[in-house]
């Protein structure tokens, strides 16, 4: 059997790059997109100029402001990024039918068996990078490997505008060159524990047998570390099929327990999945929330309505209900995912409502449809949601409440 060939495509500082493309005054400047520094908001994306100051994603915005006082701070415009993301994902369909979008700005492409069409993996990747740059003016980093894990780690190896190919058989020596911090999915807590145990290189980590790792870190993390340090894919992002569900998730590089930040993340996720659902002319009555806690245990919980989700407000509201069922408001979270399942075509026959407040939901759905139509027709958006409106920070006026 021919071996697999996976590309991991990661857009470089995606939100920042979109903003810099559309707002020339931001170009070449440290641009920081994120939540309000006064309400414990966190950084979503920092431009490469801002990263030089040490600003990182998921860092509290207030800290970013201390590190980089001259930075330009703006709120994210999720709908804009979602549309841009869809445009880019569509470009990938010219290269392979098997696209697994894992978040707004990254995707795995199964390129197995495409060498005849696009040439060597390096040539194929260069073609993809070129098309994306030509069509959108954005740069991407591509990692190539025999598994999703290797491709994922490779895409982060050189950034921005990177291209890293790890040929079959060289996985382990590639991993050996990395520092523990670069291993995918090894969070801060685990890193800390490893450092405490003086395990400060991949080689030392590899010298520990599975049993020992499991004893120190528990069965789940232990096995994960054992595999990852040997370049073996522990099964990242498996089982995500796009046909019957639309989902999106946010992995934090720093575990998050601030309720306000989590609310905001759920709003962003609600936004992105609902707009994707609408864009594909589908509807769904089942919302699924996925949480991964800092100890790597993962849980999902879902709610089925007796009607299709009608608005962003409704989606966000149910997402918060689901959150309250599985989260105590304190425990640090590593990942939040939100998705629609049991998706069916939206035939546009909206059921009328007897009571006024429900009719309000229907009106909101119509508004959202209009917004999408307008945005498609005009490249610059002419309409946007107040609470996601970009504004210079610090606020001159209070941020609108949800």
């Amino acid at each position: 059997m021919a071996s697999s060939l996976w590309f991991h495509v990661d857009m470089d500082a995606f939100y920042a790059a979109v903003e810099q493309r559309e707002n020339p005054e931001y170009r070449g400047k440290p641009l920081i997109i994120g939540g309000n520094p006064d309400s414990r908001g966190v950084v979503s994306t920092a431009s490469y100029e801002a990263r030089k100051f040490g600003v990182r994603s998921a860092m509290p915005t207030s800290q970013a402001k201390r590190l980089c006082p001259q930075g330009i701070f703006i709120f994210p415009r999720m709908e804009r990024y979602v549309l841009e993301s869809q445009r880019i994902m569509k470009l990938f369909t010219n290269f392979t039918p098997e696209i697994f979008q894992v978040s707004i700005d990254e995707a795995f492409l199964n390129m197995t068996g495409t060498e005849r069409i696009f040439g060597s993996p390096n040539e194929g990747a260069r073609k993809i990078k070129k098309v994306v740059l030509q069509e959108t003016g954005l740069t991407i980093s591509v990692g190539i490997g025999s598994s999703k894990l290797i491709a994922k780690i490779a895409s982060g190896y050189q950034k921005p505008d990177g291209l890293t190919w790890i040929p079959l058989g060289e996985e382990e020596s590639f991993i050996d060159k990395l520092s523990i911090r670069d291993l995918w999915g090894v969070g801060q807590k685990t890193q800390q524990r490893l450092a405490e145990l003086n395990i400060n290189s991949v080689q030392i980590l590899k010298s520990l047998d599975l049993l020992k790792l499991e004893r120190i870190f528990g069965p789940r993390t232990g096995e994960y570390l054992y595999k990852v340090s040997r370049g073996i894919d522990p099964g990242i992002y498996t089982g995500v099929t796009k046909s019957h569900s639309i989902s999106n998730e946010t992995t934090f590089s720093r575990d998050i327990s601030d309720p306000e930040t989590i609310r905001q993340v759920l709003l962003e996720l609600s936004h992105s999945i609902l707009f994707r659902l609408r864009d594909e002319k589908k509807e769904s009555r089942v919302l699924v929330l996925k949480l991964r806690y800092s100890n790597f245990s993962t849980t999902t919980v879902q709610e089925a309505l007796d009607h299709a989700f009608r608005s962003l407000e409704e989606t966000h509201k149910i997402a918060l209900v689901l959150l309250s069922r599985r989260w105590n408001g304190r425990e640090p979270l590593r990942l939040i995912g939100l998705g629609f399942s049991q998706i069916v075509p939206d035939q546009g026959k909206f059921q009328g409502e007897l009571f006024a407040e429900d009719a309000g939901d229907l009106r909101r759905k119509k508004v959202e449809h209009t917004v999408i139509t307008l945005r498609k027709r005009f490249s610059k958006e002419i309409i946007q949601k107040g609470s996601l409106m970009k504004k210079d920070l610090p606020d001159r006026s209070p941020r609108p409440k949800e």
Binding site: L305, I318, V321, Q347, G348, G352, E353, L354, F355
Partner: protein, 368 residues
Amino acid sequence: MKFNCDRDVIIKEFQTAQEIVSSRNALSILSYVLLEANQNSLLLKATDLKVSFETRIPVEVQTPGITTVFCDRVLGILRSLPPGEVQFELLDHERFIIKPLFKTNIDFRLKNMGADKFPETQWADPDLFFSLRQSDMIEMISQTVFAVSDDETRYFMNGVYLEKQDRTLIMVATDGRRLSYIAKETDGNLPDFSGVIIPPKILNLIRKLASGEGTLQLAITDKHLFAEFDSQKISTALIEGQFPNYQRVIPEKQEHTVLVRRGELNEALRRVGLMVEKSRRIYLDLSPDNLALVSEESELGMAREDIPCRYSGPTVRIALNFMYLNDPLRVIEGEDVQIQFTETNRAISLYSVPEADYFHIVMPMQTE
């Protein structure tokens, strides 16, 4: 404790109990039923803490006593036994023995939990009860219970609303898109109570278990509803919350009226419905004295059926969720049905002809 009972008599009660008990977990007392034998009758109790059920059946008691048994297993055993008299016996407070009276080669010995572990069930003050014809109660349930919402986020619509106006009892159910209403004049004096939301589980049980003969006693407290009929007692916790102001969505007067034979409409709906996916759109195309039921075009094709009717309004198309039309038509009892509307995108009303105590309101879907 020792008693005999016919298998078919006791199996019926265990089947009801099985619908009540919340759990099939043998470790939970809520999976058990309480049995108490005395004075030639057997008292059987089951509860999931929200809904409680008790019934008394005549049995031949040799030794009085009390115990609890695992409902799921006893039901399974009873179903497997041959018909006829079955002997039940509690040995040394430890083993509950089930064996057919005339087939002594079968012998089940079940472990059980002490009756003291069974939760206390409360019962309303006898003064609170008022009486209602069983046939009226059953009709009220049948006309409304199907319309409740199963969307847990609208928990206040997850039950049937019951309120009183003078001597009239009113039941209303809605899921926000359709609404069913019935008002029954009672002959007795009703105690004062403010409107309550009743979970459908108990209403379906009452409908199923009531003989339909004679009366039923009801009591309503702040948080519970109690019903007693035919030697059976059921109680339930009520749904807390504010039922929507339903009166303002009931159209007072509609401009147009369609009068159609109920039987013909039902037949046509059954046929055209074969081409309509569940919860999907069906069109009512109205022209003078003609009602056409039209399915929408699907991958499989379409269907249309024309029915004569009495109608003199404009030629219009109304789109409805198939279920929202089908559900009320299954319970309307008149010879004819009146469909009333004013505009095709506003609520339509369904009435029985001759007039009955109930009507149904349905919000249409968009036609395109």
